[in-house]
Each structure stands twice: as structure tokens, then as C-alpha cells.
Amino acid sequence: MDLRFGDSRPTDEERAAVDALLGPPESSWEGADRSDADLRWARGGRAARDRRDLLLPGLHAINDRVGWIGEGALDYLCRRLTVPPAEAYGVATFYAMFSVRPRPATLLHVCTDLACAAAGADGLCAGIESRLGLSSGVSVERSPCLGLCERAPAALAVKAGDPVRTAVSAPATVDDAVLAARAPDSAPQEPPAAWAVPQAGDPALTLLRRVGVVDPAGLDDYRANGGYTALRRAFELGPAGVIREVTDAGLVGRGGAAFPTGRKWQATASQPDHPHYVVCNADESEPGTFKDRVLMEGDPYALVEAMTIAAYATGAHRGYLYLRGEYPRAVRRMRHAVTQARARGLLGDDILGQGYAFDIEIRRGAGAYVCGEETALFNSIEGYRGEPRSKPPFPVEKGLFGKPTVENNVETLVNVVPILTMGAPAYAAIGTGGSTGPKLFCVSGSVHRPGVYELPFGATLGELLELAGVRGRLRAVLLGGAAGGFVRPDELDIPLTFEGTREAGTTLGSGVVMAFDDTVPLPRLLLRIAEFFRDESCGQCVPCRVGTVRQEEALHRIVDRTGAAAAEDVALLREVGRAMRDASICGLGQTAWNAVESAIDRLGAYE
């Protein structure tokens, strides 16, 4: 590889941001001043290239400090990591949180997604824009779901600098959001995570048991509340025993695909190739989903413990926690938890004196829904564009860095803790035969008490909505998020299980339950969903790259039409939707038409 770097130089600020991450450059090959030794000494090659995975953290470092990524900064980062500038440019332009053009240091992301739109996000945006005016030094950006739907409408302010400052305003008013953008440090504190859990403190809870009960910063508090008994039990059982327990418990992945977790772990554990990796997918970006955020903010050590158990069971010594970039508080809490655990011998070379080594690295995503797809997530961590890979080969065989990898989302992993403490039979007794254990649901929209709810599998949709208290006359429920489907108000007896929703011709997906009353204009909602998929398509495959655009165009054409006037476009939507589902590379394109189809078929959206 013969790399060519441009002539543009980084500013002192940009250089400092990169050096803070990578350390000072060692030679002129890396961008330091030339010394005599450089004439006889070349650096680069494999050692430098092996740091390619620092590209994404490097881009974050620059973006956090300056607010955008200039040519000189990008070239300098490339020189330090021996990454071709064209590739790095391709990576930087892939993520929504980065900009390669100058922009104001402060960004105010105002969510205009489903729950926030229903809560008046449009008016909020207009109010904020008129208050801030043009020369405020704040750029207001309409954003997809910020994962704060229980407090809709939501806004997130990010002010570049050293250190970068963030402030969340939710439920946002014009005043609060403008204050957050102007002075993030003096903006009011966010309410505790437990506010998002209406059942908080209920002793019958399993997964949410500690949220609101323990101090999320306190490791001792976590241990006093039963923390780390699961890991001790894991060491007693041995790796094979842990996998047996997880398999017997009947745990399946909570991300939407519902794959048996024990089988995945077993398949990874038995791969002869090494090292093995554990990856926790905390890139929750499905509109309407916020449970992983609440878990990480309210009970961060549980995730550290669960990842450690997963690593032990599958023979991994390194884990990556890929955390959504728009979750500043969750990032802070998880960083703190990992540091504390390391300091106390619960991560590192000799965990609990058992001679087992494991450590966790936290990686921030940068605004790309598609990175929730497991192989896209690997590419993202490795410093490539977050494009899904084609499968096979599957991650258990060739995952992160081409090595056997077990990938689970936050909710799935957190289930492992009670499985080990209560034992597989007791866990499997919760829920139904086909869907065991407790399940988290993110309820938002037209309800009195939005939030994360924990119910055993098998409760009905109606029971869940009763807990949350429907507001107004229910028109439709979106089940499973943008990739899920709508159901009618007369279908509330659908049991919330994988088999029950499948039988009813819908899906549980990631556990989103969004209620819409009859004031919500359905065609606009569908348009928003279509826009989301068009924005988030990675662009790799034709059915998704162009199909999502054609879907949005057709929905635009029929936004105010019904019946015969819409029939032709509805037929077109069906044809394109079918090809997207059948021929796209990944789940994003394959599900991009689900919600629209269900609205047409179940709700009679354009009749």
C-alpha cells in the first residue's frame, strides 16, 4: 500500500484532539517534525495498520473538539493510522453525527420522529428556530428518534470543545431547548433513569429490579443488591455449564430475530479459530426504542457482569460495547462502570481471582441505524463504513476482525444474570412455553404513563396498554417499531409472545409499542417511516437504496388520496416492497416496507 496524503495541515486544535487519543506522534512519518532518525527509519506497515479500528474514535475526537472534520484533520488522522484518506472520507461521510463541511460548534438535535411528532415536534422546531435566529452559532437539526420517546418531544444539544458538552431537554419546551443549546452546563439535570420505569421499585420485577433502587455509579451498591452472584455461579458451573443453563432457560435474542442465545454461544465457543470476541450491541436506534438506554443508565454494572459471563462462556477475553452515539449519559455511566469494575478486579487479568481475563472496550456509534445490524456493527468497529456484510459466513464463525464472535443486544445479555441466579428451570417457568422469561416493552405515544415496562411473555397487548393508560381514542398501535407493523384497536388480545404475534401476522420486533390516537394523521406517519428508511439505507444494494426512495415518493403522491386515486401507487408499493423484502442484503431493506404494508392491509390506510 502506497498512501498519499494531501498537503492540508491540521490546526493545533485538531492535532491536539487526535493526539489526545493516539498519543503524540513518534516520527515525521506520523506527522511530527522531522528528525535525523527519520531519515533512516520508516514506520508504518502492519503495526500501524492494526490500529485501523481507532478510526471511528479518531473521527469522534475531532468532531467532539471542533464540531466538524476538516481536510487537514482527516489527513492527519489518516497519517497516524495509515488509513487511505479516500477510505476515511468514505467513513466520515457515512455517519450522521459527522460533518466534513464547516458548521457551528453547537448542534441542537430536535427529534421529529414518531412519538415526538405526535407530541408536537414540528411546532417546537419552528419555535426554537425563530428564537435562535440565524446568527446564534447554533445549528438546529431535525433528527430521527433520540431514544427519549417516553419524554417526547426531545432535544439533544451537543457543544463541541474540550471537553464536549451535552445537554438533553425532554420533554422539551422552546425555552429549555434554547437554554440547553446556549449553555449546556447550566441546563437542568435530566431526571433519573427510573423515571422511565413506571413500575420502578416493584419487587416482582426481574430485569428492571435494580433500576431506581441502586446508585448507578456505585459498585458496592450493586453488589449489595445481588450483583456479581451470577458471575460467581458462572465460575462454579464452568463455560459449558453456563451455556447449558442459558440453553435450558430458553433465552432467545431480544433484538427482533429471536435466535436461541445458547445455540449462538455454543457455536462460538466451539470454533477452533481464536481469539473469540463478545460484542454487545447497544446501538439502539429503532424509532420508539429506549429500553437499552434505561438499563445502561439505571443498572450499568448488570451489563458489565452479563458481558463478562458471556465472554467466560464463549472463551472470549475481549469485549466491545458498541453504544449509540446519541446517548451521552449512558456512555458516561457505562464508562464509569467499566473503570470501577476494572479497578476492583471485576474486569482485567484475573477476574474474582479465578484466573480468567476479560476486558471491555466501549465504542460510540456515530448516528447510523444500520449499524444495529450485527455485521455492519463489526465493520463500524473495525473502522470501515457501517455496511452490512453478506452472510454466510455467520458471525459465530467470522465476525469481528474476521474472528468467531458472539453478538447480543443489551436486553438479551441482561437476562443472563437472572438465569444464573434463579436457575434455568425457574427462569423458564416465566412466560410461555415458546417464549420464556420476562420481556421489556417500550411504550410511548398516546398513553398516560409512557416508559419501559417489564411483563412476562404472554401478557396481552391490551394488558400492557392498560398499565400505561391509553389517552384518547386509540386508532392504531405500532408493534415492533418502524421495522414492525401496525395493529388495530380491536386486536388488543394479541398475546405478546414470539409465537402469538407471528400467529396474528405481525411481529414483536424489538418490543416497541407505540399507541396513536385518532388525531394522528396516518399517511403522515407512514411518510415519516418511509423517510426514515430512505435516510438510513446504507446504499449498498439496489432494492434498498432505490426502493426506499421510490416507496417514499409513492407515499408522497398519495398522502391526501384514497380509494381508486391511490390504487395504482398502492400496487406499485406492493411490488417494490416485495422486492425489497426478498432481495435486499440486510434486515433494513428487508423490513422497510413492513409498517407501510400493515397500515394498508390492517388499518386500511388509503381506503
Binding site: M1, D2, L3, R4, G6, E71, L74, D75, P84, P85, A86, E87, A88, Y89, G90, T93, F94, V100, A368, R385, S390, P392, R534, D535, E536, S537, C538, G539, Q540, C541, V542, P543, R545, V546, G547, T548, V549, R550, E553, A554, R557, L572, E575, V576, R578, A579, R581, D582, A583, S584, I585, Q590
Partner: protein, 286 residues
């Protein structure tokens, strides 16, 4: 004649294509097997010298038991697999994919595509007159080759050829995402300010004519490009000792472009700037 190096003999595996038994060497793709069985399957992003990115999805086939269709160009055949190539479902997806492509980019210089559009009864116009298109001005920033991304189907072949699969120059990349994704050099500048070494290997693999010789581009613009009047002569490059094979495309006694045979076991169709573009001295007749 080219000499194909013999590898280690491979085991044969058995599976069925459209109900008929097929035997192919281990490691073959479904597409290899289909071609061996004489089945026509359209392909765009697949290329004989590169590992396909399977991004275009025109080669999809149905595999028994698979939830979605699978790309024939990159899925390996497995023992016992039941592949169906011409089902209504597969044909539907191919047709839509062709429509989506033809409605968004200019396929006028893409070989074979007109035939497929007809065969699959694709009607790219039905997305309406306002359907988003990639209408971009051709980028002419050097004397050797032109990038006309209004014709690009984003097959990733040029990126792979310039990057780790052949050239190792990494001058170009996919940038942006979704419908806005494009091929570009760093900072999206002109080619002359990039790492490009003008080997032209990206032009060699481009399936649509989005990348073309400046000579071809100019002649097309002038209406003088006429493939039927061209002759091709394969010879040996005289610049250096490697001795790459050159195929000279000659029209009206002028070399109009230079390609290289892909089945050459040494170069696989790759050249350097001299072999690819350094032919003017031949026709300097003063």
C-alpha cells in the same frame, strides 16, 4: 491461448438446479454452476476478476429453505442445495431491481442491459416523471479518463480494483450513504489532487461506462464512436520487462482505447498508466 494454472484438485459436490442434478467443484458459486448448466442469469456487479460485492441483486435466485432470495454470484453451492433460477419470485425481484436501476441512472452504455429490460418486461417509467435520478455532470478533470457518475450503479468494482483487490492505491471510495452514496476521491476533489495513479484498472472493470477513456467519451460526444468499425489487436506492452498484454481498440487507424485480457494469469486485465494510456507516440504522425 492462455495457460491456466492447475490448482489442487477439488472435490465435487452435488445439488440441484431447477430440479436437475448438478455437480460442481467445491467452492463454486451458484452462478458458476448455473453457467456450467447453460442457464442464463443476468449479472451487473459480478466481474470475472474481482470478488463480487453482491450489491446489485439482479442475479438473485431462490434457494429452498432460505427466507430471502440469494445472490447467485457470491453464494457458494452447498451439497444438497435446491436452487431454482427462474421462479416467479426471483423474476419479480430482478425485474424490479432493473426498473429501479434504469429509473435512477443512465444505462445507455451498459452492455446487455437493454436485453434484460425487455426480457423481464421492466418499465422504468412507471415511477413517474418526478422519480429521483442521479443526474450528474460528467467530471472531466484530466486528459486520461472521465467519471460520469450519472451512469454509476454503485457496484463497488472500481473501489475494489483500486483498493485491496488489485491496485492497492486506494484512491477512491464510496462516500455518503443511501441514495446519496457516490464514488469519490478524498474530500470529493478532482482526480488530479487525489492519490490516483491513472492505471485505469477501474475503467477496465466498470460495467456501465461510468468510467471511460477520455478518447471514448469525446468520440461519443462527437457522435463518432462506432464499436462495429473497431478492430481489436492483442499485443505485448513494450514499455517494460513485465510484458503485459494489451488489447488495442482501433477505429479509423487510430487507437481509441486500450484494455487488457482478463484471463491473462499474470495481470488479470490490470495495466499501469503507460500501458493503458501511453499510446499517443504510436500515432504521432507529425
Amino acid at each position: 491461448m492462455t495457460v491456466t494454472p492447475l490448482g489442487i484438485p477439488r472435490r465435487l459436490l452435488e445439488f440441484t438446479i431447477d430440479g436437475e442434478a448438478a455437480r460442481v467443484p467445491e467452492g463454486s458459486t451458484i452462478l458458476d454452476a448455473c453457467r456450467a448448466a447453460g442457464k442464463e442469469i443476468p449479472t451487473l456487479c459480478e466481474g470475472d476478476t474481482l470478488a463480487p460485492k453482491n450489491a446489485c441483486r439482479v442475479c438473485v435466485v431462490e434457494v429452498e429453505g432460505a427466507r430471502t432470495l440469494v445472490p447467485a454470484c457470491s453464494r457458494r453451492a452447498e451439497p444438497g442445495m435446491e436452487v431454482r433460477t427462474g421462479t416467479e419470485r426471483a423474476r419479480h425481484s430482478r425485474k424490479i431491481v432493473l426498473e429501479l436501476l434504469a429509473s435512477s441512472v443512465d444505462l445507455s452504455t451498459t452492455p446487455r442491459v437493454a436485453g434484460w429490460l425487455k426480457e423481464y418486461e421492466a418499465k422504468p417509467d412507471r415511477f413517474g416523471p418526478d422519480a429521483a435520478r442521479l443526474e450528474e455532470e460528467p467530471r472531466i478533470d484530466n486528459e486520461l479518463y472521465v467519471r460520469d457518475y450519472g451512469k454509476c450503479v454503485l457496484c463497488y468494482k472500481c473501489v475494489d480494483a483500486c483498493g485491496d483487490q488489485w491496485q492497492n492505491t486506494f484512491a477512491i471510495s464510496v462516500v455518503g450513504r443511501g441514495f446519496d452514496a457516490r464514488i469519490a476521491v478524498e474530500h470529493d476533489g478532482p482526480l488530479t489532487e487525489s492519490a490516483c495513479v491513472y492505471c485505469g484498472n477501474c475503467i477496465e472493470v466498470c460495467p456501465t461506462g461510468a468510467l471511460s477513456f477520455k478518447s471514448e467519451f469525446d468520440m461519443r460526444a462527437a457522435g463518432t464512436w462506432d464499436e462495429s468499425a473497431q478492430s481489436e489487436t492483442t499485443t505485448v506492452c513494450a514499455y517494460c520487462g513485465v510484458g503485459c498484454n494489451l488489447t488495442l481498440h482501433v477505429q479509423d487507424n487510430e487507437i481509441v482505447k486500450v484494455t487488457s485480457p482478463h484471463d491473462n494469469p499474470v495481470t488479470h486485465g490490470n495495466l499501469c498508466i503507460k500501458g493503458r494510456f501511453g499510446y499517443q507516440h504510436v500515432q504521432n504522425r507529425g
